[in-house]
């Protein structure tokens, strides 16, 4: 599979072929792949051009993408909530490597390191060795002493930390990852204080004086009227 196709397939798989079929853009497949990314969130025209430029570039080779996919799946194996594929983590890493070019060298070096390691020890590329052999390599670079400065640790440890960070952020900022984390916001609601069971859990309570100052949410839609001294009377 060509590298560009692999990215496209990942994209198509995540958005469903129906979007692809229904889209009536009479443009190249490249553009379709990009429009499928539906990144429409109030970018300025300049920002859109910049993002499009990044999408047109290729950084990782097809083999590198496949290795990344394997690694990301080892970092966060799929579960009932979702997977690396659904969270589009590999696409994010490809994008970020172009968006933040300082990621490029360490990411690529690490991928080459792990394949060398795998070839030396198991006579095969990382993606082609069995799961326990893969874990054997990871076990040597995946753990670190958090009391130490990351920059002082061996390069493979730093690389894996970067990859783990990108994988974690990619997953937990995705639709499935946010659901798994349980974040409840980004939706219209009315904040009326910390729920009582949470206050109880921490042995906290609101002072009455303080609460008296706070908004009575049943009157939030009544237009504010003040007396001359600035006391709210509505």
């Amino acid at each position: 599979m060509k590298r560009r196709d692999s990215i496209k397939n990942m994209t198509l798989a995540s958005f469903g072929a129906s979007i692809f079929l229904e889209s009536c853009y009479d443009v190249s497949r490249e553009k379709i792949a990009r429009s499928l990314t539906r990144y429409e969130y109030g970018r300025t025209p300049e920002e859109k051009l910049y993002d499009d430029k990044l999408f047109e570039q290729e950084f990782f080779s097809n083999d590198e993408l496949l290795t990344l996919d394997k690694l990301c799946n080892l970092i966060l194996p799929p579960n009932d909530f979702g997977s690396i594929k659904e969270a589009e983590v590999v696409q994010l890493i490809e994008f970020m490597a172009k968006d933040i070019p300082s990621y490029q060298e360490p990411l690529r070096k690490g991928l080459s390191w792990i394949n060398n390691e795998s070839k030396n020890r198991f006579n095969n590329l990382f993606v082609d060795i069995n799961n326990s052999s893969q874990k054997e390599i990871l076990d040597e670079i995946a753990y670190y002493d958090p009391n130490k400065n990351m920059n002082d640790l061996p390069e493979p440890v730093q690389w894996f930390n970067l990859l783990r960070n990108l994988t974690m952020t990619g997953y937990f900022t995705s639709e499935v990852g946010i659901k798994e984390l349980g974040y409840k916001g980004n939706t219209p609601n009315v904040w009326d204080g910390v729920p009582q069971n949470i206050l109880d859990q921490y042995g906290l309570s609101y002072d009455k004086d303080w609460l008296d100052k706070c908004i009575d949410q049943s009157k939030r839609n009544d237009t504010a009227i003040w007396d001359k001294e600035g006391n709210l009377i509505s």
Binding site: E47, L74, M150, S174, W191, T223, N231
Partner: protein
């Protein structure tokens, strides 16, 4: 080069559409004056779906909300940032001044923190109190009626506290504190640090039928589609248009100079249209600069003529001088008690629900001015960076092992989510003549306009204040049972004080005063040298208090606008 001249003569040309420019537009247009707004960026309306970022999810951005194109993340509503391509600024010596520019209708009001604090009576007379800097030529009583009007027009939540230097206003009721804010209140009170409800220009209650009520998405930095937070477009400029104001907008228009005649009076402005790179001229009876403190200073300094060889309105040689920003210091902590939280919607308003106004007496301290404390934390929306080094907090449990892979990362993510709290100090610095921006004689931007060069050093007063912030934060965090996330900055790093400009409260470059020897504008923000030019951004601030400048910018802009109307009535323009 051919310069295209617009045949209309406007009553008032307003340069910039942020807090000051928006307020001037509203007040002056409602008095029947014809207005030209000249804005360096494009049109922007928080309710325009094509420009909206509010309520978007991180996965709707290819960088998941990361900060590559916009410093505060790509959903933040500021077009521009610390660096703008083709529009550089330079530094004198080892100065590290940071200059944040937002080029769009409404300017920086679209993304700011909405912290809306009045200056107090003492804030206008600091020299009389501590001997540093200068007193303002006006008092709190002069500005109070305008603060009152701004409160009622725009809406600000807060509470009556009867504090002598943090005056109460016409408040909407504040929202209840969040969990981490209750932790902060407990910790702060143990150290006798006062905590009160925040004062933010966000509508917790309806104020009119033009604007909606806050629906608690925590995203004021993305500007509110329901107009439930303050931005200059939604609260000042659009309402002014709706009430029939004669307002023409010139967008993507970079003002190069204020033009003048033989008598040295302003005749209008010349600007470069960014869409065709051509120069245009607009005629106006009065020019109101509201381009932000440094941009307005730059325009004046670049407006040299036979009558104004040192720059326009600069016989004092003070334009650009006394530049000062708020001081800033921060500490972030892990709160072990907050691991494994039960999750609920804790978004609240965009910003803190509680804060600490300055609570001490500087006469008993080794530095001159105060600071307030802002607090942040909670079960926030994931964004690019979420999950980085997630279990490095293991060290706080004495563990020597972090990282790993597999399902442990999932449980660590949930374990540590919402367990951190941050404290930020925002303090008053003392205006120094030696801190300034000036025209760099060797550099022009891509429009050929000479750029600014900054020179800025913190003094002992600010550095000792920053030390006090760190000591206070450490104590409060300790009281909360928290552990600071990084080492406490010491003397070698000036106790962690932020670079000047970083807090984006730069003020003072066209300072206000009684005479043209010691100041640039009078109490109505009118140039001493040229009666038909006004500066209504934060340039005229003599000192900036430990308060955020926006509310005072607007109160003064309103006051100055009434003066301009009065002068028009007297046919003085």
């Amino acid at each position: 080069m051919q310069i295209k001249e617009n045949p209309n003569e406007y009553d008032v040309i307003i340069v910039g559409s942020g807090a000051g420019g928006g307020m001037a537009t509203k007040i002056l247009s409602e008095a029947g004056l014809s207005i030209a707004i000249v804005e360096a960026g494009p049109f922007y309306d928080p309710a325009n779906p094509d420009q909206m970022t509010q309520m978007k999810w991180p996965y709707e951005s290819p960088r998941r909300g990361g900060g590559t194109t916009r410093f505060f993340g790509d959903f933040d509503q500021a077009y521009g940032g610390w660096e703008i391509e083709g529009e550089p600024y330079s530094q004198v010596g080892d100065t590290q001044f940071k200059w944040f520019r937002s080029r769009m209708l409404g300017g920086r009001t679209n993304h700011w923190g909405r912290i809306s604090l009045r200056f107090g009576p003492d804030d206008f007379r600091k020299k009389s109190i501590d001997g540093f800097g200068d007193d303002w030529p006006i008092t709190y009583q002069d500005v109070k009626p305008y603060y009152d009007k701004v409160d009622k027009l725009i809406g600000v939540f807060g509470s009556k506290e009867n504090l002598s230097n943090d005056p109460d206003g016409f408040f909407l009721p504040p929202p209840k504190p969040r969990l981490h804010e209750l932790f902060y209140m407990k910790g702060a009170r143990k150290s006798n640090v006062k905590v009160i409800p925040s004062r933010l220009s966000i509508l917790t209650k309806r104020i009119n039928d033009q604007r909606g009520v806050c629906f608690y998405c925590n995203q004021c930095a993305r500007s509110c589609m329901a107009y439930a937070d303050f931005s200059s477009g939604s609260c000042l400029i659009f309402p002014a248009q709706k009430s029939g104001g004669q307002i023409d907008m010139f967008l993507n228009a970079m003002v190069r100079t204020v033009t003048t005649n033989e008598e040295g009076k302003a005749t209008g402005v010349s600007y470069i249209d960014k869409t065709d790179n051509k120069e245009y001229k607009l005629k106006g009876k009065v020019v109101v600069l509201a381009a932000s403190a440094c941009s307005s200073a730059r325009i004046l300094l670049n407006s040299k003529s036979k009558q104004h060889p040192n720059g326009l309105g600069n016989t004092s040689d003070l334009i650009g001088k006394y530049l000062h920003d708020s001081t800033g210091g921060d500490m972030m902590a892990f709160i072990p008690e907050l691991i494994d939280r039960k999750i609920y919607n804790e978004d609240g308003v965009g910003g803190m629900h509680v804060y600490s106004p300055w609570w001490l007496d500087n006469k008993k301290l080794d530095f001159a001015r105060g600071y307030h404390i802002e607090v942040w934390g909670g079960l926030g929306a994931p964004s690019y960076g979420t999950g980085f080094n997630i279990n490095s907090f293991n060290k706080f449990f004495g563990l020597k092992k972090a990282g790993g892979y597999g399902d442990i990362l999932r449980s660590d993510m949930k374990k540590y989510y919402g367990s951190t709290i941050g404290l930020s100090g925002r303090g008053e610095s003392i205006a120094q003549k030696t801190n300034y921006c000036e025209i760099d004689p060797k550099k022009v931007d891509k429009y050929g306009v000479p750029v600014l060069r900054f020179n800025y050093k913190w003094t002992d007063n600010e550095i000792k204040q920053a030390k006090h912030m760190q000591d206070t934060f450490e104590e409060i965090i300790h009281n909360m049972g928290g552990i600071p996330l990084w080492g406490k900055p010491g003397k070698e790093s000036n106790y962690g004080i932020n670079d000047p400009g970083w807090i984006i409260h730069e003020v003072g470059t066209t300072r206000m005063g009684k005479d043209s020897k010691n100041s640039v504008v009078n109490q109505f923000e009118q140039l001493h040298d040229v009666s038909n030019i006004f500066v209504v951004d934060a340039g005229p601030f003599v000192s900036q208090a430990d308060k955020n400048p926006t509310w005072t910018i607007m109160a003064l802009a309103w006051r100055s606008s009434e003066y301009i109307i009065d002068q028009f009535k007297k046919q003085n323009f």
